[in-house]
Symmetry: D2
Subunit: 318 residues, 4 copies
């Protein structure tokens, strides 16, 4: 967009480019306190695998389940642990603009390198209102802003035209697409291809290879907590154009992702099953201490835990 | 449920019985500050009309758009203004249990007489998780708890069996059903008919008469901010079995409710249009000072405001 | 609509006014042949109960499962059995206009008194296309045409404005609303109130009383096959303004309708369960010979059949 | 499935392997008669481009809009025109089993090489009922049977497990997936990978490259009527592992597919717009004589037709 001033990035903020940026799990103790020692081990595990950044405050981090105070403590801890090695991207999940702004200001103060915000939810929201929302956040807090497209949670699909408009205007620096709609993701990649520095991430665990072939810059996979090395291999293969290798790695990870079906759907929701499986796997791998999840989520039982272990074994991870 | 201890209600809490309990609008100044003078006039207007209680912190109150601090200020103001004349019911809209608990504790401290909570939202939630959620709130805060069934916002329909179970167990003291599903409401009324004191409210502006015929105890109509006298007349007619009068009043109110279509759907969402219309009507009626709504909602323009006025005139309200 | 010619009705067609018009089940032999003896007994049972008409070719009649030839045989048989005592309304369920026209022409030839057609389905359809569809059917076949609003099957909700426009233009003579949306039904009743002779039927088994209070002219209840006397009592009570009696009858019928949950949802669809229950009940009541349903529907087993019988016993029907 | 007899294919039926199999448009004259001369030119155009087969009776062929007689005439004509050069796959779109069987028997009689059937629609259908449906069709008509997964039309997503089970049992010989769900397609490819001869086709115009990378055997693109050469190039590039070329071709075809937005959504449905655009493009390319579509579809106007032409020009097609 000629004549448009380049968006200002704070001096200290590390730029978010492509690559694998896992949405970090939030380890809890069995009595549901924050387990900072496990969080430290998890961050180290992810950094050692070669991830390109960490996303704190995403859906996988149980952010919807955390009080404002706990959200801040997690972000502060991760910023400290990462110590500038990679950018830390902070989620600001909340219902509407003023509430998101509160999280965004806290994130900036705590040293996040970029923000992620969804469309408003609860009340049905018009694209014009979503535009006001993102513009308000971008104007109020001087950090690159990524749009989080997650219709399963916020029940709005971000229109491609809106993403493109906000990207061209310097409001959005990127997209995290957890919609599962690979055509829409591809359209967003195409519509933002000429915006310098714009990065489109897929949130898909299961078609990351396809999303990269379709033009994506990176991956934000919840399963990346469990097998960051696998996603880094997948990403590297795709970057060098070795689609056979990327696809083979993706197939292995697809099988591993089957762990989210370990939890019995007759007694828990899909989210309890998925987060429970990731945490159980991280316990099995010796990364975190407890698989405890937030209230009112239902925990995995022994049988379900064993099923998760079986997935790890078949994937060669323990 | 024989042998079950009666749920404890704090000495000071006024019981929530049937009748009309409007979800109170939150008046804002043109620069989006809280307008306490208008709030005072609005509460007086509603009390004068003979409402049976006030619901603060509902969807109509723009609660999803308010920071925690502002929510508390509104509730505190209303409790003070009402001064015990009728019960004040406090909404606790938030994503999940710990966050709802924060609002619930604040509401109890500020003197609310009862709480209203939705199912968790954002992540998909299993009925067993919803049960844990409501039980957790009820156990933590000693106020009667009403379940708020609003699938359009939280994307879960509360199962009738779950409502009945939680009612029988003394967890739920009532239901506020904004689902629009009159069969489901009727089923919930039937399934809780033997639970002493349980009250089922419909949130419908447009079939309140039918909901009362189907067994409802009361009405929580957003439009009740604009025409509380009409809803009180409707309720009173239904209570004395004069269904012809109740239906005639309902038909008049249905026409009045057409004001929510004044806002152009090409430029705003349904929620902006509805809340904008209610506030515009309250300005026209001289109750509040400004029709301003919260960010990122879109405001009505002059043409749309005039259309709202036309609805008031046709309904004989100005 | 002043100056508009009154819609022409063929001399021989009996007018469809209000009242109870059951959608007639299609009895099959155990080897899935048409059981005309049972059909004769069923029609007699319904006529004896005082129904105001019979609807052949509706969803309850398994019409979607019948070949064109079988549909015609059923309609022909019913027209003969009824012998002009009440109007026979013929469904024309099919994908799009030309196919519906085929059924409509057959129905006219076989002596039906009115037609029922849904919006086109399979491909997503615009209201302007739905309008062309209904206008095409009305122009081609000279019988009163009722619109069948059944979004659960055709995945389109008929817009109220469209129904009103087609009613005013003499294209539609009535509405059969199986949407479950009582507000929409009420709006349609209101929007057609000034069209002479227009009749709005609810297809709801469970809120027929409310639909009549909201302005409906009649009821087309699948459960009316099983208990036509109950629905006729409900309708008569409503017509004389005895809403307490109407509601009491409705509550009894709501409990009876619980029979549709007898079929195990783990092994059959909701439609198999509902039609299977109605037919099982008709066998228990001695009206038809076999509960067999069409391929690929799953039949009720002995346990499920016994559960249906329990519902009949509790409702005082055997 | 060891010990399972291989599914019998009639001697004369040409096997359906991978490749591009366009769903053939049905050309109509301006007065909506079948235009056999245009159909002949269209088939020639497609065969010359190197397609691997022709799919007659698909959604793109307006099959839902055709009477039984016209469906048969189209299929008969195409079988004659193709004269065994490639397999002709016949759609059997209809509501339920008996009706589908009628089309299947006709198709076999007319010389089709394989059948395509959807799940039953209209009534909600359980997987167990869908299984009975496909098994009934396969048993009754001795032609290879492909399942057509098109939730936008039939409102059921075929479960992967069901597809796998029916493939292993020799009931299904293939899948045509128009769900848009690339993860589901990939899962189906994986779950049937060991079934000899099973072919999984994507119906996507816009992510055919991704579907082939994910394991697909071929493409059934509606847009393949307009640019069969492009899809053949895309397929060939993918087969030789040249994903850069496949993706470049796909990007060109994605832009071309923008033609389906030429029709104004304020005055027509998406289906009218899509089929109207394909036919308009075929007229512009000199393949068929008229862009007329079936009743009650809305036709493109001059402006919209010009927009289609613009898409062809930008894609280098005229």
């Amino acid at each position: 967009m000629p004549g448009q001033p380049a968006p200002h990035h704070p001096q200290s903020a590390r730029p978010v480019a492509g690559g694998v940026i896992p949405p970090v799990c939030t380890p809890l103790t069995p009595d549901r306190e924050l387990d900072l020692a496990s969080l430290e081990r998890l961050c180290g595990f992810l950094l050692d695998a070669g991830v390109a950044g960490l996303f704190v405050g995403g859906s996988t981090g149980e952010t919807a389940y955390l009080t404002d105070d706990r959200r801040a403590r997690v972000l502060s801890a991760v910023v400290g642990l990462v110590a500038g090695q990679v950018p830390v991207v902070a989620g600001t999940i909340d219902l509407t603009t003023e509430r998101v702004l509160g999280h965004a200001r806290t994130a900036a103060r705590l040293g996040a390198d970029a923000l992620v915000a969804t469309a408003p939810f609860y009340a049905p929201t018009h694209p014009a209102e979503i535009a006001v929302h993102f513009r308000s956040v971008r104007e109020a807090v001087d950090l690159p802003l990524l749009a989080y497209d997650i219709p399963s949670a916020v029940h709005t699909k971000l229109p491609t035209g809106l993403v493109a408009e906000l990207a061209a205007d310097g409001v959005l620096a990127g997209l995290k697409d957890s919609s599962g709609d690979v055509d829409g993701f591809r359209a967003a990649c195409g519509a933002t291809a000429l915006v310098p520095g714009f990065v489109a991430f897929t949130g898909s665990e299961t078609h990351a290879d396809l999303a990269l072939l379709a033009g994506g810059a990176g991956i934000v996979p919840g399963l990346g907590n469990v097998d960051p090395h696998g996603y880094v291999r997948l990403y590297d293969a795709a970057r060098r154009g070795d689609w056979a290798a990327a696809t083979a790695e993706q197939e292995r990870l697809r099988a591993l992702f089957g762990m989210i079906d370990a939890g019995d759907p007759a007694r828990m929701g899909r989210y309890s099953a998925a987060i429970g499986a990731f945490k159980a796997a991280l316990v099995h791998r010796g990364v975190i201490a407890s698989g405890t999840t937030s209230r009112p989520m239902i925990g995995l039982n022994d049988t379900e835990n064993a099923a998760v272990l079986g997935h790890l074994e078949r994937a060669g991870l323990c």
